[in-house]
Each structure stands twice: as structure tokens, then as C-alpha cells.
């Protein structure tokens, strides 16, 4: 997706198998394009249909806190899509 200026963008991060699927670890999205985390995910799922099947087994975070899918987004927010964690 097109890179937009810092002041109006959302920073989007992908980890684990999602990073492999999307083909990148980090992206930038105009905050006007997604009012919630769910809408942000839908932008990517529209481009990567396979992504949609991971939706039930993902959690999202906003500004490094686990967040509900209906969490509203604001310019400058950092959103990450997190597969099940497997540290340890």
C-alpha cells in the first residue's frame, strides 16, 4: 500500500506466518482508510484472500496492548496482527 506521511498514517506490523503470507513485516496505511482494527484487517484480507482464514486464530494489538477488533484507530497508531504466540 502507498506510503503516506507520518502524521496521517497507521503503522501496521505482521509477525510469524502472517509476515510470510503478506511478504513484509511492516506497512503504512492512511488512517482515513480504516476506522477500526477490523477494517484495517479487511483491507489486507481483500488483497490476500488466504489471510481471511487466519482471522479466527489471530489477536490484534494497538500501541503494544492487546486490543479488541472493534477498537477505533487514530493517526499515528501502531497496529500489529499476532498469530498464536510460541515463545519459551
Amino acid at each position: 500500500m502507498a506510503t503516506v506521511s507520518q502524521s496521517t498514517c497507521l503503522k501496521v506490523l505482521f509477525f510469524g506466518r502472517l509476515k510470510d503470507l503478506i511478504g513484509r513485516a511492516e506497512d503504512s496505511v492512511n488512517s482515513a482508510d480504516a476506522a477500526t482494527i477490523e477494517q484495517l484487517f479487511a483491507l489486507y484480507a481483500a488483497r490476500n484472500p488466504e489471510l481471511a482464514k487466519y482471522r479466527p486464530s489471530l489477536v490484534a494489538s494497538r500501541n503494544q496492548e492487546f486490543a479488541a477488533w472493534d477498537t477505533p484507530l487514530h493517526p499515528g497508531d501502531e497496529v500489529a496482527f499476532l498469530p498464536p504466540v510460541s515463545g519459551g
Binding site: E65, A68, P84, S86, G87, G88
Partner: protein, 158 residues
């Protein structure tokens, strides 16, 4: 190195974890016990021989979640201090991926806190491992962290 209150240590490292040094860090004259957890790379996964593992983290959030765990330990258990260190990158069979040391005046709290720390880390800290085999690689099955189902403002009025 990130240090919070109680001389706690939370670190993500890319080199071998210096376990004796961490044990010395949490050890104090008022303590009577240290319990440690050494998690290391197993040579097989579901009966397939593992070649090596590669760990990655959402580093800033992982450190924040590790600090939350140390905070919870102090709230729940009568402990003195904690070190939680996770290694990232490529790890060979037998190398330590995670090390936890908990010091306390008495052993029961140290045992309980150490168990709570590793169990919570495995559920809530955003770290992922990819398992490499002779014939390919897979992201390990993991645990889905507990996350809020919906924001309070989105709940329907009843």
C-alpha cells in the same frame, strides 16, 4: 538491559544467555532461595527431528509484557527479585531459549512465582518460533493470547 523496581531484569538477547550472571543478579542476603527455569531447544517436535529453531519477537511489546509479568509476580508472591530473559534468532539443539530466575526469602513463593512466570510468558508474550526440519520449516503451534472481545463503547446498550 532493562531494569525496573526490585532490581528485576527483563531482556531480549541474541547471544547465549549467561545464566550464572542472572542468578547472581537476583541473589541477595535477605533471600533464602532461588528457583530457576531453563527452557532449551528440544531435538524433536511431534517425533520429527528438529534441525534448529528461529525465534522472532514483537520486541517492544514483548518487553512490556515481560515487565507486566514481573509486576504480577510481586503482587501475587512473596518474592524478592526476578530475571526473565528470552533469546531471539537462530538457536541450536540444547541451547537455552528462555531463562527465568526468581529469588525469595522462602522457597515456596519462588517455586510458585517461577511457574507462574513461564506459564504466563508462553501465553502472553509476543514471541514466535519457526521450527526447521530436514524437509522444510513451520511456525510452531502456539497459544492465542487473551484479548478483549470488544471495546466497552461498542457493547450494545441493554
Amino acid at each position: 538491559m532493562t531494569t525496573s523496581s526490585h532490581n528485576d531484569i527483563c531482556q531480549l538477547v541474541r547471544n547465549p544467555i549467561d545464566m550464572p550472571a542472572l542468578i547472581r543478579e537476583v541473589r541477595a542476603p535477605e533471600d533464602g532461595a532461588i528457583v530457576t527455569f531453563d527452557g532449551f531447544v528440544r531435538n524433536q517436535s511431534h517425533n520429527r527431528p528438529t534441525l534448529y529453531l528461529d525465534y522472532e519477537a514483537y520486541e517492544s511489546m514483548a518487553l512490556a509484557k515481560m515487565r507486566e509479568i514481573t509486576g504480577q509476580l510481586h503482587e501475587k508472591f512473596a518474592i524478592h527479585s526476578v530475571a526473565i530473559v528470552h533469546r531471539l534468532g537462530r538457536l541450536e539443539i540444547g541451547e537455552t531459549s528462555v531463562f527465568i530466575a526468581v529469588s525469595a526469602p522462602h522457597r515456596a513463593a519462588a517455586f510458585d512465582a517461577c511457574r507462574f512466570a513461564i506459564d504466563t510468558l508462553k501465553r502472553t508474550v509476543p514471541i514466535w518460533k519457526k521450527e526447521y526440519f530436514e524437509d522444510g520449516a513451520v511456525w510452531a503451534d502456539g497459544e492465542l493470547p487473551p484479548a478483549p472481545a470488544a471495546t466497552s463503547r461498542a457493547k450494545p446498550a441493554s
